[in-house]
């Protein structure tokens, strides 16, 4: 098991190095250099230009610059934002809980509805029920989620007036951030109604962000169930006289879950990309909105750092899924 883990770990290491190379070259591919960017349109005299370049270490050969960059990355130093002058890692970490909270809720929503829908569609294959679920999930899969978000606001916030349009919490409350997760922070605070406000702000963005994962999970669960229901052990279980419920929920679903777990893991990337759109629509103060704004402000260290952290995160989530997969299924652990 440990050997399997290390083999997987060394497999992701080149990917991590590759991502650092990518983010490192990002800053060198932009037209003009970092000094000119900082100086802006005022321009800068050549002597001061060379001086600043030397200060920032940009006069060294590229390989040396790269190793210095890598060294700093491992020390947790991702540079400072051009705009706020704060360290990138600090900025990221203050915003990340908001994105994590939203993504987790979106994923819970997706699994909660996608999994049963997929199971039912698989069990009742070929019925109108199955066709409806599959049609709805293909529509969800094809959904431009930024538009979906606008529609949700149009219907639930404007037309019905049920939910707030944007943000994480009503302006009536001020909650001192403790964990960064608004749901937990509002529970810990003794402000009445704050938790309800946080929850109502979270519902629409979670549904919007969870739509595509929901569709993917439903489709995957259905096809996985169809595979498993054909297996001999399901027939054996039926022959033993077990109830339909037990055969489906215990014997079939447990084995059908293996590919579904992988798909859930792979949705991390989809969620983080979707977060850029969802956070923009709902003015959700998270990492996705921050990266988009950084691109707009040409704040290159922030873009560079943000991409590096998110890519690393995804690489490690995928590693986690791989390892989990190996734990569930010994056959995978022992093949190369």
């Amino acid at each position: 098991m440990i050997q399997f883990f290390f083999r997987r770990f060394f497999h992701v290491f080149p990917a991590f190095i590759g991502v650092t190379l990518l983010t490192f070259s990002l800053i060198h591919l932009i037209p003009g250099d970092a000094v000119e960017l900082r100086a802006g349109e005022r321009g800068i005299d050549p002597a001061r230009h060379a001086e600043m370049k030397a200060e920032m270490g940009l006069d060294k050969p590229l390989p040396i610059q790269y190793f210095r960059y890598i060294g700093n990355v491992f020390k947790g130093d991702l540079g400072k934002s051009y705009v706020t002058k704060k360290p990138i890692l600090e900025e990221f970490l203050t915003l990340f809980p908001a994105t994590l909270e939203l993504s987790l809720c979106a994923m819970i929503f997706a699994v909660l509805f996608g999994l049963p829908a997929g199971v039912i569609a698989g069990v009742k294959r070929g019925t109108p029920f199955d066709h409806t679920i599959m049609a709805v999930s293909l529509t969800g899969y094809s959904m431009p989620i930024f538009w979906w978000g606008l529609l949700m606001i149009l219907f639930f916030s404007v037309f019905l007036g049920w939910t707030p349009v944007s943000g994480r919490l009503s302006a009536l409350f001020w909650i001192e951030p403790q964990t960064g997760f608004m749901l937990i922070d509002t529970l810990l605070s003794d402000e009445p109604g704050a938790f309800k406000s946080a929850l109502s702000h979270l519902i629409l963005p979670s549904i919007v962000l969870g739509t595509i994962p929901l569709a993917v999970i439903a489709r995957m669960t259905r096809s996985s169930m169809l595979e498993v229901l054909k297996e001999d052990y399901v027939r054996t279980a039926r022959a033993k006289g077990l109830s339909d419920r037990r055969v489906i929920l215990v014997h079939a679903l447990r084995n059908a879950m293996i590919p579904v777990i992988t798909v859930i893991g792979l949705q991390t990337g989809v969620l983080l990309a979707g977060a850029i759109l969802t956070e923009t629509i709902f003015a959700w103060p998270g990492v996705g909105k921050w990266i988009l704004e950084s691109i707009g402000r040409r704040d290159y260290p922030a873009i560079q750092g943000g991409i590096l952290i998110i890519a690393t995160l995804i690489i490690f989530v995928n590693l986690g899924v791989d390892v989990l997969y190996g734990i569930i299924n010994p056959r995978i652990r022992h093949t190369h």
């Binding site: 080149p14 990002l26 431009p144 538009w147 759109l277 691109i295």
Partner: protein
């Protein structure tokens, strides 16, 4: 009994591949609907200049935010209403079909061509070259597609061309991996060995012998690639990182829509509906193609 004795003889010959393909494809009703929608979209895109009732750029100052024809205050002049500067939404949508399909065609062509070249060569030659190519593709796959596309646009600057280029890069790994996998499974088959014995050079081996036998999954992926390309281009346009105003691009049309959520629902609704229907059509057709081209699915 009489039915059994009169088995028609012509059935023993295999049907023409295209005929057989259509037989399986048309069994899937959704796929056929998708195909028809795609054909309509292509028709609208090609003849947009003749079909659209107005120019997509003309601003009718006396008809700003006019509702669709069936609502109070709507007029037959603007069937789906007008936007905040008085442009006809229907005409912009029709011209938008042209842009979206154009994006799809260019992205799929670029990524398919590059993907085939990298995929076939890495599958055929193997070795350190293959490792390098595949690791590079792994890195691209490790990043969320929209984030990577945004990063590329951040370097190159926001425009439709750069959006197309960045989406083509982002989807490239799918084609490379798919082509390589097919080449690897075909490489050791007898017909390939026979061709090698006959003295075929590497170029001929790769592109004339192997590639035609690897096309089925690529065709499916290319069809589904249209939907990804259209969706991503619209997302970039929505974020202001793709097509720039006043281009009638569906995503860009929604960029400022948030402020009209309260007052003019038609500005918000129709462009997104156009994206959804088009993307759904390509996904339906792609699913149908997969079923029709996959020999394992055939009974």
């Amino acid at each position: 009994m009489s039915e059994m004795t009169s088995i028609p003889l012509e059935n023993s010959a295999p049907p023409h591949p295209l005929k057989e393909f259509w037989k399986y494809f048309s069994e899937n009703k959704g796929a056929v609907v998708g195909l028809y929608i795609i054909l309509i979209a292509v028709f609208l895109a090609v003849f947009a200049d003749y079909i659209a009732p107005h120019s997509p750029f003309d601003q009718y100052r006396d008809a700003i935010l006019q509702p669709p024809v069936w609502m109070d205050g709507g007029s037959g002049k603007f069937l789906l209403g007008t936007d905040d500067v008085g442009r006809d939404i229907l005409s912009r949508l029709i011209h938008g079909a042209r842009l979206s399909l154009f994006v799809g065609v260019i992205v799929v062509t670029l990524s398919l061509a590059a993907g085939i070249i990298f995929g076939v060569t890495s599958g055929y030659f193997g070795g350190i070259y293959e490792v390098l190519v595949m690791r590079l593709m792994d890195i691209i796959l490790a990043l969320p597609s929209l984030l990577l596309a945004l990063a590329i646009v951040a370097i190159l600057g926001p425009s439709l061309q750069n959006a197309i280029l960045s989406i083509a890069v982002v989807v490239l790994p799918h084609y490379v991996r798919l082509t390589r996998a097919s080449v690897l499974s075909e490489k050791n088959k007898d017909y390939v060995t026979a061709s090698r014995v006959c003295g075929s050079g590497p170029f001929r081996m790769m592109f004339a012998v192997l590639l035609p036998n690897c096309m089925a999954p690529l065709i499916v992926q290319a069809t589904l690639g249209f939907s990804t390309a259209i969706l991503d281009a619209a997302a970039l346009g929505f974020l202001g990182m793709g097509a720039q105003p006043p281009t009638p691009e569906w995503g860009a049309m929604l960029a400022n829509a948030l402020q009209f959520v309260q007052s003019a629902w038609w500005v918000v609704t129709f462009p997104g509906l156009a994206i959804l229907i088009t993307v759904l059509a390509f996904n339906l057709a792609g699913d149908g193609l997969r079923d029709a081209l996959d020999p394992k699915m055939k009974r």
